[in-house]
């Protein structure tokens, strides 16, 4: 049984002190209280003699857990704005602080006298309890200066000075400046002639740095010694508590930073009937936590992480929109948004360029796999039934209908090498699972009937243009798997039945389904787990994750005012909308392109709704 309570209080105060001078203070106070308990009741079994006995391991036990988290943040800033002829200045300065405290208390009791009551007080057995306390805080100063000349030339300068309690005193603070400029070209004199066509054009650019605490845990600058309650060596019939040695810390660990450069162009054509906005950005994350250069073993422990890694994300965004009217009553609009970004590692302190970790040049989400062109056939085996080359690293046994992995490094064996760039064995980079060319298309149209209201229809599509996926471990895709001690199976009709069958397959299978040598899926296996040998990441089963989904369709009828006036109603709208109506994708129908990882989720639901909106 779990209960969560949360209370948020937000208070804000805005003041206009004198003309041009404003001030703002806001504060938030949040309290969250979680209360869980788990009561385990004993389970009895009936013996053949009729007697009932307790199944060992199911003695009654009770676990309780409470956590109180309090959080507050306070922010205050003041701004002054002044205009002298065509020059406008604005300056703002502010301060911010926040603090979070968590207190947890948990306890367990074994063997309750009254197993139905969730009360530790009724425990006959051992009672233990433990707690956890933590706190963090940040504070910062920020300032901004804006200047514009005649709304034509725009300049903004920002600075932040942030400090975090997670770092040591000397590395706690970071200064993060940024600047942006803009030029409204369409307000210039030389633009006047083009104005009827391109009624608005603005070019802007920005460059700045911000800080990021990353995944840092708390107290990284204070060596801590973990406590064990029971040493492994019994002394005089008790096990004493003991304390472990702390590791080495990097006292200079500090904020991770990211510096973004962005340039954008905004255009409006034909009186803003066509508008477009394009941005290109380059974001360099630096001082990211990465490994230190390994030290000789005599150090006796690992060298602590250092802020020494970097990666870069490049991308662009485009938005376009066209509004127009066909006739006085009939208007429509088309909107398109398109974006793309890729990230790669530029600096990482390692001598082993393993593709499971980071290495300089690694593209995030790259996929390494084997090349598979076809299944094994009888000609691949020698007279004794042994495969003509060595795939034993993956599995000992192979048969016709299993996949044939290509030996790219020519050594007669299929191996993953040492998993590094220098020695990839027979693996190579086969794709990348970053979603590319994310798009959204918005179509809307509306028709006003004279004296009979108005109908509006809008349709919104969204999707991804390019993506490579490999369904490792996704049993919805492969049709069956053993997961540890449990067997997970899912067999659907249709695509799953397209598996390899030849004349040596089980006769009953052949009777029902016939031979299928050119199948999509390889030879099937029962729950031995041996089938996993065919599911190594490879080119054959690399799927495209591109999709387009009809996200929203909405049809609205607005009643005409003359009808409503009589009923003293101001507005009335009737609408019908549908969400997630269909998806076009190359993936099987039972795998949603947005939740590809193991498919263990309820499919996205199509929602149909109707409603009436009345305003008085």
């Amino acid at each position: 049984m779990a209960k969560s309570h949360r209370l948020d209080n937000i208070l804000a105060l805005d003041a206009d002190i004198v003309k041009g001078w404003t001030a703002h203070i806001d504060g938030t106070w949040r309290v969250a209280f979680d209360d869980n308990q788990r009561l385990r009741k004993p389970v009895y079994e009936t013996r053949p003699s009729g007697a009932s006995s307790l199944i060992p391991g199911t003695e009654s036990s009770l676990t309780k857990f409470t956590q109180l988290e309090t959080y507050w943040t306070l922010q205050g800033y003041t701004a002054y704005e002044h205009t002298i002829s065509k020059h406008t200045f604005r300056a703002q300065v502010g301060v911010q602080a926040e603090e979070d405290n968590i207190r947890q208390l948990s306890g367990t009791a074994k063997d309750l006298f009254v197993p139905e009551l969730p009360a530790i007080a009724t425990a006959a057995g051992v009672r233990t309890f433990n707690d956890a306390l933590s706190t963090w805080a940040t504070a910062g100063l920020f300032g901004r200066v804006n200047y514009n000349f005649d709304e034509k030339y725009l300049l903004e300068l920002n600075g932040r000075y942030d400090g975090s309690g997670r770092y040591s005193r000397d590395s706690r603070w970071g200064f993060f400046p940024s600047a942006s400029v803009g030029w409204n070209m369409s307000s210039e004199k030389f633009w006047k002639s083009i104005l009827p066509v391109v009624n608005r054009s603005k070019i802007r650019a920005s460059y700045g740095t911000l800080g990021n605490q990353g995944n840092s845990a708390g107290y990284l600058h204070i060596p801590t010694m973990s406590v064990g309650s029971q040493a492994g060596w019994i002394i005089n019939n008790e096990r004493l508590p003991f304390v472990n040695t702390p590791g080495i810390l990097n006292m200079m660990r500090t904020w991770e930073k990211y510096t973004t450069f962005d340039v954008g162009l905004e255009l409006g054509f034909f009186g803003n009937r066509l508008t477009s906005e394009f941005d290109y950005f380059n974001r360099r994350s630096w001082d990211v936590i990465g490994p230190a250069t390994p030290k000789p073993s005599v150090l006796g422990t690992g060298a602590p992480d250092v802020n020494n890694a970097e990666f870069v994300t490049n991308g662009w965004e485009l938005q376009m929109r066209w509004n127009d009217i066909i006739s006085k009553n009939w208007d429509y609009s088309v909107g398109l948004s398109l974006s793309d970004a890729m990230s790669h590692v530029t600096k990482y302190n390692t001598t082993i360029n393993s593709f499971n970790g980071w290495y300089p040049g690694k593209e995030f989400d790259e996929i390494w796999g084997y090349t598979v062109d076809r299944f094994l056939n009888k000609g691949d085996f020698d007279a004794g039934g042994k495969l003509k080359w060595d795939q034993s690293r993956i599995n000992a046994n192979w048969y016709p209908g299993d996949v044939k992995y290509e030996d790219l490094d020519g050594d007669g064996k299929i191996t993953p090498g040492s998993g590094t760039i220098e020695n990839p064995g027979d693996l190579h980079k086969i794709g990348n699972s970053t979603p590319r060319y994310r798009f959204g298309v918005n179509l809307a149209t509306g028709y006003s009937f004279p004296k009979a209201g108005r109908i509006d229809l809008s349709v919104f599509f969204e999707g991804i243009g390019k993506r490579d996926l490999f369904m490792s471990g996704n049993f919805f895709y492969w049709g069956g798997a053993t997961g540890g001690s449990s067997v997970e199976t899912s067999t659907f009709k249709g695509k799953h039945l397209d598996f390899y069958r030849d004349e040596d397959s089980n006769p009953r299978l052949l009777e029902l389904l016939g031979e299928n040598v050119n199948a999509y899926f390889p030879r099937p296996y029962g729950n031995s787990g041996e089938g996993g040998k065919n599911f190594q990441t490879s080119t054959r089963y690399l799927l495209s994750g591109a999709y387009m989904r009809l996200k929203n369709l909405q049809l609205t009828y607005t009643l005409p005012n003359n009808l409503l006036d009589r009923a003293k109603i101001k507005t009335c709208r009737i609408y019908f909308s549908g969400e997630n109506l269909f998806v076009l994708s190359k993936l099987p129908s039972y795998i949603d392109p947005e939740s590809v990882n193991n498919g263990k989720m309820y499919p996205q639901q199509a929602v149909y709704s109707m409603g009436i909106n009345i305003g008085f």
Binding site: G76, G163, R172, I222, T224, A231, I234, P241, P296, V298
Partner: protein, 601 residues
Amino acid sequence: MKNKSIKKIISCSIISGVAFSIIFSLSACKKFLDREPLDQVSEPKFWKTAKQLDAYIVGKYDWLPGQLSADGMGYYVADQTSDNMVNGTSYSRYMNGENTTTPSSGGGWDWSAIRQINMFFDNYQRCETPFQTYQQTYGEACFLKAYRYHDLVMRFGDVPWYTSVISDNDEVALQRPRDPRALVVDSIMALIDKSIVNLKSRSEVGVNRINKETALIYKSRVALFEATWAKYHAGKSSASSVDANKYFQKVIDAYNQFKTECGGFQGKLYTADGVNKSYYNLFGKFDYADVPEVTLSKKYSQALGVLNNVGYIVWLYGYSSCSYSQSLVQSYLSKNGTSINILDPTVVTTKGAASLTQMADLLDPRFKQSVFIPGDLLNNNTPPFKDALFKVPQMNMSDVSRNAVTGFSPKKAHNPDSKMINQTDPLVAGIAFRLPELMLNYVEAYVELNGGFPDLSDNIDLLRQRVGMPTLTSVKPTVDAWWPDYGYPVSDNLAIVRQERRVELAGEGYRVNDWKRWRAHKLFDGKRPKGFKYDEADFANVTPKPVVNLDADGYVDPYKVFMSGGVYKFNPDRDYLSPIPMDDLLRNKNLKQNPNWDSPK
């Protein structure tokens, strides 16, 4: 007018309020962002009380010997890497010189324990109570550092000596070359001496805490190891710079100090169960608090969650696939203290299980108390094993790990009172140090230095009396031709002492360091270990039949197939020392590799 002034007052107070809060927060910022852990021990606040120092050291007790793993026989099967014991599942790759590559990391070059114990020495003086309150803890820390450091010296030879924790940017310390062995051993010995001075005696702290008696036994162990290594490896690639005679003397000093400060040796050995049972019962005890012969022991208790499964594995599950070799059994003297050759068919006329009974009757009583003999009670409490007796060695299990492949099933740590249920109380306790080692170390050191025997009445004779055998003083055995060949000539007295040591400490994990320090690879090199004389009639009514390989004379030859008819081929110029891993040689150019192992190009 009024409105304007009220407005002005309000606006002025808001201005000052905002300004004040900005200024206030700036000055409070420094303290505000000082966050310390609230539920963890932070190192700056530690090292203040004696209890904290003790808690730090207690966690290091799992470095000590005498451990029986949760599901194995622990140190009782360490002798499998020697000529004492045979592991039925495979031969020792190490003894066969098969470990030929320098690893890139690991291989025992692990300095985390040294860092942990050095942190104690760097910080213990911050304690706010007087030295007497933590004197015992200080002694324990000295012992633990010596123990771990000597472990490194035994494996690698010369190692760099560090007295305090190295910081990650101390390049001088990180690039330190290997210090000469003599210097490191002298420093280790100084630590042991400090621990002897500061540790309390066993009667004060009990058998589960490191005590003065244990430190004295350990002193004799280290001194004897270093002295014999220096003597027998002289002039070889594994030579040591230690002064052998100086260290033989230290062994003698430790023995004498025990006599004067710890009450001597008389009455200390466990004899309470009589000459036929005391030696056997000693090893299977559940608790050693009342057994002064054992100075340090690891207690096991299912109730407290420290588990082992010795009671189950010691006979039913094949002693972790290990059994005693023919070579070890050949070392037992006759029960009259004279030399006897069990391979002589006129001496041992039977074969199979009957030969075990015959040998039990002919040999040193320690034989029948170390090896299962037909008629031994296996268990007295758990059905269906209650009252079962040992009949024949377990050699026919299809799971090879359950077989005593040589026919000599070890009995040490067996106790018929154990429950035949996995890891259930009462659990056999582990022996970390026992007094006979100090006695034997002393006699060996004395003979090495002086040639003749010392007064044996306080040592070997006591061991003989415990089992009802004539004393060495009264009967001196002749050193015959079939006695072990160490690869070089040894005096008769030394051969007798080494033999006595082998028998008393058989199967307790001492043999490996013994053959290494004596440079005695000849004991197994060029041979295969053998077992007893097999009699298929023993298994006439048993199915399945054992799969046994025999040699030409009918003795069990367990490695005949594993070694394809070959013999052990040890590489003495290389394998007495372990290699320093490649990664460390690359990171510290001042470290030189041990002879005949690969280095970076």
